[in-house]
Symmetry: C2
Subunit: 134 residues, 2 copies
């Protein structure tokens, strides 16, 4: 067994709250560290990585390795997706859009029927340019 007890600490809550406040946008561990440093209550990078990993394992956060960036990005899973949505990420400004659109929602089912390939929407990010950056 891994861990018998989990304390609720201010740092853990602070990190999760910060991620939640970003509304599903992608952020790196380093950016989190910078935020708390600027906010006047710095948190060690190692601690941030440890918490992020834990959030990932408890399903509160997703971890991505995105094109164009060297490191990993983390993303808070807002509320509960009844039907997890394929995401769109702007290559220019980095914004993540969670579009609700019948077309996108049907992709997994169509691809599965046609090719027996089972798409995992949680992992899938479509890259492109958002309306603002076009």
């Amino acid at each position: 067994m891994a861990r018998s007890k989990t304390y609720s600490t201010r740092q853990r809550e602070a990190i999760l709250a910060y991620l939640a406040s970003l509304g599903g946008q992608h952020i790196t561990a380093n950016q989190v560290a910078l935020y708390f440093e600027r906010a006047g209550s710095p948190i060690g990078l190692a601690t941030i990585y440890r918490h992020l990993d834990r959030f990932v394992q408890s399903g509160k956060v997703r971890k991505h390795h995105l094109d164009g960036a060297p490191g990993a990005c983390y993303q808070h899973i807002a509320g509960e997706h009844p039907h997890p949505q394929i995401q769109l990420k702007c290559e220019a400004c980095g914004a993540v859009l969670h579009l609700h659109c019948s077309m996108l929602e049907e992709i997994p089912a169509h691809v599965y029927q046609a090719h027996s390939f089972q798409i995992n929407p949680l992992k899938t990010v479509l890259y492109g340019k958002c309306p603002n950056c076009l």
Copy 2:
């Protein structure tokens, strides 16, 4: 200006030929190094990175940062895609499928019409499980 002359060397050709032989599958710089080491003609990692970068810039190869893997993956661009295809990658076996399917081909146009979001098929990889691994 960057480079006035380009020699055709055996290593450059060997690396590109190896990538081409993989038919669009993803491979890391380290895997390339291992291949040539086992083949009896080892190539320094630095050299491999230098060639891969050059291939990327000349449009022969694409570079991805994939989920679940720490480093970058490279992928030979087979022939010429008249209509660049969104790719499907199996999370289990790592295989890359280039499916031709009207549904997939229509995604960029539909999303653009509905949300003014311009998808870049070259960058986009859908994750999931391939038929063999299901």
